[in-house]
Point group: C2
Chain length 326, copies 2
């Protein structure tokens, strides 16, 4: 089974709305529950972006758009769903309360996916009656375009749950990455956290502005990361002598006195002001909507342009397009 016909989304923030967008653009009907009074309006704003994006993403045939229905509680939203996605705030107690309610009303074989970016699935599932069907499916913003989704099992998750989930996310045009050991923050956010800390130090110490750092990334290694990642980049840098040669050259640098990495910058108002003001100066002339539109157009350009031309295994836009036309 690699297909679902109905999903439920609990929590319609940026991530929840992104899931709704990806699901309906791939022909899945979606039930939504979010207690916020402006939830529907915010979700619809995301759907405007995603509809524009998908219209440009592929020239081939697409599945017909799924329907979105808003509900005033969990009960009706989850009753007939094959996949239930929890995208509520990052607090274990809130999430556990949501799962209790979901389990009360959902079909016992419905999959339950948490969008958490950091909490371990073993903690999430610890109070559940049917913990074997809970897993983490951690997506990246914008969820309707970025292919990566990290799948993480808790101690009580059935391996078949991950297998089934993996098929579903591939069918949704994503690249499911099964994180084999359960750790906080999984893989991508560990890397992002490392860069974020170092970036904060650079700004705090007046070495670079937020604009300098963004330029260093987008005119430099960001262009490699979009296609290669960390290790393949260095494999090429090592030349025909390969990875061992690169490690021999670069490894000892780890001992150099770049000590900032070893410490955490104090997170105070001064730092927040510094970053916020620099960011306003850098990009305050654009609305977030305008920025999202440029981002989405660029993502589509890259996804369409690279298509199958990436290294290694894994789902690409080319494979996704093939699956759409069959």
């Amino acid at each position: 089974m690699n297909k679902i016909s109905k999903a439920a989304i609990i929590g319609g923030g940026v991530i929840g709305a992104g899931w709704i967008a990806r699901l309906i653009e791939n022909g899945v009907d979606v039930n939504v529950f979010d207690p916020a009074s402006d939830a529907q309006q915010k979700v619809n704003a995301v759907l405007v972006n995603s509809r524009e994006a998908y219209a440009k993403l592929t020239d081939g045939e697409r599945r017909s758009e799924g329907a979105v229905q808003f509900f005033s509680g969990t009960q009706k939203a989850v009753a007939d769903a094959d996949l239930i996605v929890e995208s509520v705030p990052e607090r274990l107690d809130i999430k556990q309360t949501v799962y209790a309610e979901i389990e009360h009303y959902a079909s016992s074989d419905a999959l339950i996916a948490s969008s958490t970016s950091g909490i371990m699935p073993s903690d999430l599932q610890s109070k559940m009656r049917h913990p074997e069907r809970l897993f983490v499916a951690h997506p990246f913003n914008p969820v309707y375009l970025l292919p990566l989704v990290e799948l993480v099992a808790g101690k009580k998750t059935d391996p078949k749950t991950i297998e089934r989930a993996s098929e579903i996310y591939k069918w949704l045009g994503m690249h499911p990455l099964h994180v084999k050991k359960e750790i906080e923050a999984f893989i991508a956010d560990r890397l992002l956290e490392a860069i974020w800390r170092e970036s904060l130090w650079l700004v705090k110490d007046g070495i670079a502005t937020t604009q300098d750092i963004d330029d260093a990334v987008r005119y430099g290694f960001g262009l490699r990361y979009a296609q290669m990642g960390v290790f393949d980049t260095y494999r090429v840098a090592g030349g025909e002598a390969g990875m061992r040669h690169f490690m021999a050259q670069f490894g000892p640098c780890l001992q150099w006195p770049w000590t900032k990495l070893m410490d955490v910058p104090e997170f105070n108002d001064e730092l927040v002001d510094l970053i916020t003001n620099q960011s306003d100066e850098q990009s305050g002339h654009m609305s977030i909507r305008e920025m999202e539109k440029i981002r989405d157009d660029n993502l589509i350009t890259i996804l369409r342009g690279l298509k199958d031309n990436r290294w290694g295994a894994g789902e690409t836009l080319g494979e996704y397009e093939k699956s759409l036309s069959t």
Copy 2:
């Protein structure tokens, strides 16, 4: 003055050869000195790649290709050069010896650029007779395609040197980023080092393979980094509430116990074997040349596709193309 007619490259490794490629593709004649017996052969292999790449980079008119001449010593290589690029191994004593020789034979107003990725320019220039014309111009592989070049002044560098250099690199289609405070490893490599360390931990601890990490990057945040960088990504994530809202949400995470960042993995044979073997398994089916070709094709697709569609200030392929046709 924003134009040079002759450059000298001292050291024809991956970076030196990349500089040669960018310079000749932009109409600059280049003199090369590298004592290695296979230097000419290795440089020519890079030039095969760069010629193919530039033929695809723009449909517009280009400058006619500069000539490359190899010399058997520094003297004749530097005598008539406007810009002298030092790309020798990363050892201060070697570099200082090279500068002494350059100064002996070069015109006193020739600019001297070091390609070092980590040594501070104040140290590089400390024994020079005319230190005011030395600066760091740190490029990124492949130098002939990636726009970023970090410009760093030492204590004795004339501010006019940086201004002039900045014009030259723009004219070469690059994005010069003036690093305002002198620190070891500058900006981009600080960020890369942070990611590299965390990646080594993830592999060492068996959380992820090199393939997992590369996939997490290239199907995920790498696609954002190619256009947005670190801070603008989070600005958008904060939504209309902006950067301050994002910081309030995400800031406290800095205190979470992701302790691996605070330590350096021991760099021993076991770790080198682990990484090397995983990398071989991941990409050993391709030669480095094949990987370079895929990389270059993808970079051209991204650079052409995004063209002027990036945020913020800075040189883009669109501006470069305009400058070529005038």
